[in-house]
Structure formats: structure tokens, C-alpha cells
């Protein structure tokens, strides 16, 4: 069995910008602009970046809610990049998604049991009694009660709804689950509960998890490896401990310094980024981060576009920065 469950290569998603009476295409937005990323079996890969950086688009392509514009997605040895709805059916059974908004992610007119059982019914698994049993088992597994099956979503709190969403995603026993900011709409105390639940379920069900968040603090708790995304690209990728102890990319440094410390007496050097995230309609030349970068070097960073390069440390540590990774940085040029 190959080590990688998912291999994404040169993945691009463009959205057309249309305008005028005839809806002519006037521009394209590169929401995801060339991403190479692998997800290893059994790991939790954290994907972090600020809003608009393309992390949700990447997640949606991975579950094939969106079709990539170019590049390939390989899932367990099969190219799923451009499969049709019909061809995707076996894939659908193995890859699921947990959504951000616990309020819009459940059908308000469907009983919770129906929502959770839908996957089983769609894939023709079990008869009515078996499905009912699996649904109640699943409800108990995510920390709800078996007699909740007949209730409607509005009877539950945000955290409970998110548990229902998790139950719906896990009922088919998928191999890969994309969790798209599953806790960012919840209260902090409930966030912790849901994160712990995900972690427990992952051990129990042997899941591979891609965990999308805009907050490095949340990702630290759950991930094995972390990818940092900026303006449609991965800018840094390494294991969790290395990333938090020794970040290479200046953008990662800035993100890390933004995590609040729960101690009023301690202060930390904050790298406050200048300016706004540039529009993906018109990305900056060279390194996309150079206009906001505290260490950018003129004549290099604003001209040449860095790819992910091996960093100077011993471990597997990739960063897209001319000054911190790659042969030139290592050689101290």
C-alpha cells in the first residue's frame, strides 16, 4: 500500500469573473494556483491560511465538489480529477467532508436520523433496521443520544449540530475526511469538545484527516503535519513540531505570532503584517508575499517566483522562500 492516500499535483482552480449584459468573461481568479500536496494514510494534515487564500477551494476540489481547472488529484492510486458524477460514486463512499457552518449544513426539514442515514441509503447499504441501528450507534459514538434520531436540526445547539454533521460524514466509514473549519463557528469551550471528538474518532475509525483552519492554535492541537497556504499556494509544509518551533517562511512567523498567549504577564514579539492580502485577481509579481514581507530582497523576491524548496534543517521541511530555503539560502548567498 502506498504511503500517500492522496496526491495532488499542479492543482489549479480558476473562477471566471463575468460582467455585463452578455456575461462576458472579463477576468479569472486563481483561487488555487498550482498546489502540490500529499496526504499520508492515517495522518492529520492541517491546512492553514487567512480567508481568501484558497484553502476551502482546495478542500472542495479534494472531495470533488469542484472540478479542478488543471492539474491532477490521485486518490488511492486512481485519478479522480475529472470523473463524472456517476463515476465518482465509489469515491463518494470513501471521501467525506465536514462543513464550517453547523446551521446551514443540516437540512432543516429532515430529521437528524434521515440526514445521517442518507449516505447508507444512497449506497444501498443495509436494510431499514440495519441502517437504523448504524445511525443510533453513530449518534452515540459522536456523543449524542440514540433517541435524537427523530428530532429536527433546530432543536440542537451549534456544537450538537456539528456532531451530527460529523456523524453524517462518518457513517459510510470513509478513508478520508476533509474538515473545513469545523470548529471556527463554535464557542471556544465547544471547539475543544469537537476537536477532541474528531481526534478520538480518528483513532477509532482509522481516518485520514485534512483539517482546514485559519487559526494555527486549533491546528496545533490536532495535526501531524501542517501546510500553510497563502494566495492560492502552499508556502510552507512540515511536521507540526518543526513548524511551531522553527518556522521558515516569514508568513508562518507572522501567523504564529498572532496566536494569543493565555498569560497576561507574558508578551511576545508580534510580527504584524503590513497591508491587506492582495487580490488573487491580480497577484503581485515574483513571490506573492513580497509586498508584505519584512525580509524581502529587492531584485530577487519581487522578480522570481519561489517554489517549495527544502529548508536547511535536518527534517522534511519545505518552504517557498528564496531567503530561508533552497540551495541559495542554505549556501548563505
Amino acid at each position: 500500500m502506498a504511503e500517500n492516500l492522496v496526491e495532488m499535483r499542479e492543482l489549479v482552480k480558476q473562477f471566471p469573473v463575468k460582467s455585463g449584459l452578455l456575461q462576458r468573461e472579463v477576468a479569472t481568479v486563481n483561487a488555487v494556483a498550482g498546489v502540490d500536496l500529499d496526504v499520508k494514510r492515517g495522518e492529520t494534515l492541517g491546512l492553514v491560511g487567512e480567508s481568501g487564500c484558497g484553502k476551502t477551494t482546495l478542500g472542495r476540489m479534494l472531495v470533488r465538489l469542484l472540478e479542478p481547472t488543471s492539474g491532477t488529484i490521485n486518490f488511492d492510486g486512481q485519478d479522480v480529477t475529472h470523473l463524472s458524477d456517476r463515476e465518482l460514486k465509489p469515491f463518494r463512499k470513501r471521501v467525506q467532508i465536514i462543513f464550517q457552518d453547523p446551521y446551514s449544513s443540516l437540512d432543516p426539514r429532515a430529521q437528524v436520523g434521515e440526514s445521517i442515514a442518507e449516505g447508507l441509503r444512497l449506497h444501498g447499504i443495509g436494510d431499514k433496521d440495519e441502517r437504523r441501528e448504524r445511525v443510533t450507534d453513530m449518534l452515540e459514538l459522536v456523543g449524542l443520544k440514540a433517541d435524537h434520531v427523530g428530532r429536527y436540526p433546530h432543536e440542537f445547539s451549534g456544537g450538537q449540530r456539528q456532531r451530527i454533521g460529523i456523524a453524517r460524514a462518518l457513517i459510510l466509514k470513509p478513508d478520508l475526511v476533509v474538515a473545513d473549519e469545523p470548529v471556527s463557528a463554535l464557542d471556544v469551550s465547544v471547539q475543544a469538545q469537537v476537536l477532541n471528538l474528531l481526534k478520538e474518532l480518528q483513532d477509532e475509525l482509522d481516518l485520514t484527516l485534512m483539517f482546514i483552519a485559519h487559526n494555527l492554535g486549533v491546528v496545533e492541537h490536532i495535526s501531524n503535519r501542517v501546510a500553510v497556504m497563502y494566495l492560492g499556494r502552499i508556502v510552507e509544509l512540515t511536521d507540526r513540531d518543526t513548524l511551531y518551533a522553527n518556522p521558515l517562511h516569514p508568513y508562518t512567523e507572522a501567523l504564529l505570532s498572532a496566536i494569543p498567549i493565555p498569560d497576561p504577564d507574558r508578551s511576545r514579539d508580534r510580527h504584524i503584517l503590513q497591508g491587506e492580502i492582495p487580490s488573487p485577481l491580480n497577484p503581485p509579481s515574483g513571490c506573492h508575499f513580497h509586498p508584505r514581507c519584512p525580509i524581502a530582497r529587492q531584485g530577487l523576491c519581487d522578480v522570481e517566483d519561489p517554489r517549495l524548496m527544502e529548508g536547511p534543517d535536518e527534517v522534511d521541511h519545505l518552504a517557498a522562500c528564496w531567503l530561508r530555503a533552497g540551495d541559495r539560502a542554505v549556501a548563505g548567498v
Partner: protein, 316 residues
């Protein structure tokens, strides 16, 4: 966040939830939850105007439905000795008779039956067309949406009465069913726009995406997930269409392009009575009042339904 902190947070949150439930029990409060339909029903029952209107409507509809048993006279048979009788209780001519002695109470009952029958067909036909066109446009979007919505705009810009007159002249007016279908094919535009809007917004909802990721087909998503969530506006619109159809059918019949005699539609009765408005005033008045009563009541019921389905309006 360390694991220990997290576990503590877990316990605190659980304890808080339990405390809220306990205190509710202590105060003798029962925590009861209602489905959206139950909420809507409760709100509708509390809407006095709508409920009164609904009762009146049901009475009128039942009377029309059982006109054969209730009507004291046949609608076409003249009671010759009592020609041109004003409304009276003696000969059971509650709404009077016309110049040849036909009983206008009976004629109004049968006329109401025809008009309501036509109106229900119109509402059904236009609802089916409107839901299909609006649903397809909203769900698939893009070029299909553009095409269907421009077609809808076209239908909306054509002067209604003019096209009705042309169509019924062309197809030949007469039978109530034919009039109903002509009207139905012209009445769907408003609903199509409403349904399109609902589909557009629901299509982007995460529960629809979740169904897609689970492997649901387009038709399952449309019929199981989107349509049930648009039923409220569809029902309200269908109700209001019944009222509008009664009015338009009456106008059309009055002008002689709708239901033709011998079918006694309400519009036909008013047209018959208009020649003698100064002498036999009751002929046009009672069918006219019936139309007003029905249309008014249906509109109140529609308002009540709209309020009931509006989640922003709370139960008092």
C-alpha cells in the same frame, strides 16, 4: 490548548448545560420543541383574520360543491310566474330572479362552483409550470437560467388581458376547462421567479453540498432537499393565484371571452345583469359581492399563510 485544559472545558460545558435543564425542570417548565410545520400551523391558527376567512371560504366552497342539493331551483329553469322578482324569502328567491324568471341564488351557487373550479385548475397548472421552470432555472443556473428567465420576462411584459382575449378568440371560448388552461399557462411567471430565487440560495447551502458529497443525484437533491424547503412560498403563491384567477376569469367572462353560457360562471352572471342594473339591480350585485367575498377571504388566508411561514414572525 493542552489536553488537560480541553477536558476541563468539556466538563464545565456539560455541567452548564445540565444546570440549565435542571433549573427548567425545577420551575416546572417543560422544554418542548416544535417542527417548522408545527410552528407554522400554530401561527396560522392564531391569525384571527385568516382563520375567519378560512371558515367563510369553506362554507362558500361547500355550498358551491353541494349546489345540487342546496339550490332551491335549477339554474336554467325559469319560474315564470315570479319573473323579475326582487330578493325575497317567500318564494325562496333569496337573490331575486331575472326577466325570464331564473332564480339568481341558484345561479350564483352554480356560478361559484364553475368559477372556483376554474380557479383551482388555474392554480394547479400555473404552480406546476412555475415550479418546474423556476426550479430548473435556479438549480442549473447559467445559460439555462438566462434563457428561462428572459422567457419569463417576456411573458410578464405582454399585456395580460390582450393576450387572453386573442387566445380565447383564437382557440374559441366556452368550456370552463379550456379557459382554465389558458389562464394557467399565463399565470406561472410570478411563482417561477420566486422558486428560482429559493433554488438559487438553497443550492449553495452546505446541506445540499453534503448530499452531493454523499453521492445524491440531482433529482434526489431537488426533490428531497430543495423542494421541501420551498413549499412555504409555493403554497402561499398558489393560494393567492386562486384569488387572482377568480377575478381574471370573471373579467374575461364578463367581456364574453371566458366561460360561455349556459355555464353560469360568476362573470357571466354579472354580464347578464348589467343591462338592467337600474331596474333589476340584484342581478349583478349578488354575484359581484360573491366574487369580492371569495377574493378577499383568499387573500386574507394567503396573508395568514405568509406570516405563518415567515420565521421572523414569532408565535405570540
Amino acid at each position: 490548548m493542552t489536553d488537560q485544559q480541553v477536558r476541563k472545558d468539556d466538563e464545565i460545558a456539560e455541567a452548564q448545560t445540565q444546570a440549565v435543564i435542571d433549573s427548567a425542570h425545577l420551575e416546572g417548565l417543560e422544554i418542548k420543541s416544535l417542527t417548522q410545520w408545527q410552528l407554522a400551523r400554530r401561527k396560522f391558527f392564531q391569525h384571527k383574520l385568516a382563520m375567519t376567512s378560512l371558515v367563510i371560504l369553506l362554507l362558500v366552497f361547500l355550498a358551491a360543491l353541494f349546489a345540487d342539493f342546496i339550490a332551491p331551483y335549477d339554474f336554467a329553469e325559469p319560474d315564470v310566474p315570479n319573473r323579475s322578482s326582487p330578493p325575497t324569502f317567500e318564494g325562496q328567491h333569496y337573490f331575486g330572479t331575472d326577466k325570464i324568471g331564473r332564480d339568481y341564488f341558484s345561479r350564483t351557487l352554480f356560478g361559484t362552483r364553475t368559477s372556483v373550479y376554474v380557479a383551482f385548475i388555474v392554480a394547479s397548472v400555473s404552480t406546476v409550470i412555475g415550479v418546474i421552470i423556476g426550479g430548473v432555472a435556479g438549480y442549473y443556473g447559467g445559460a439555462i437560467d438566462n434563457l428561462l428567465m428572459r422567457m419569463t420576462d417576456l411573458f410578464l411584459t405582454i399585456p395580460f388581458l390582450a393576450i387572453l382575449l386573442v387566445l380565447s378568440a383564437f382557440l374559441g371560448a366556452g368550456s370552463p376547462v379550456r379557459v382554465a388552461f389558458i389562464l394557467g399557462f399565463l399565470f406561472w411567471t410570478g411563482l417561477a421567479r420566486i422558486v428560482r430565487g429559493e433554488f438559487l440560495s438553497l443550492r449553495e447551502k452546505e446541506f445540499v453540498e453534503a448530499a452531493k458529497v454523499l453521492g445524491a443525484s440531482d433529482s434526489r437533491i431537488i426533490f428531497r432537499h430543495i423542494l421541501p424547503n420551498t413549499l412555504g412560498p409555493i403554497i402561499v403563491n398558489a393560494t393567492l393565484t386562486v384569488a387572482a384567477a377568480i377575478l381574471v376569469e370573471a373579467a374575461l367572462s364578463f367581456l364574453g371571452f371566458g366561460v360561455q353560457p349556459p355555464f353560469p360562471a360568476l362573470g357571466v352572471l354579472i354580464a347578464d345583469g348589467q343591462d338592467s342594473l337600474t331596474t333589476l339591480w340584484w342581478l349583478a350585485t349578488f354575484p359581484g359581492l360573491t366574487i369580492v367575498l371569495i377574493a378577499l377571504c383568499i387573500n386574507f388566508v394567503g396573508d395568514g399563510l405568509r406570516d405563518a411561514f415567515d420565521p421572523k414572525q414569532r408565535v405570540k
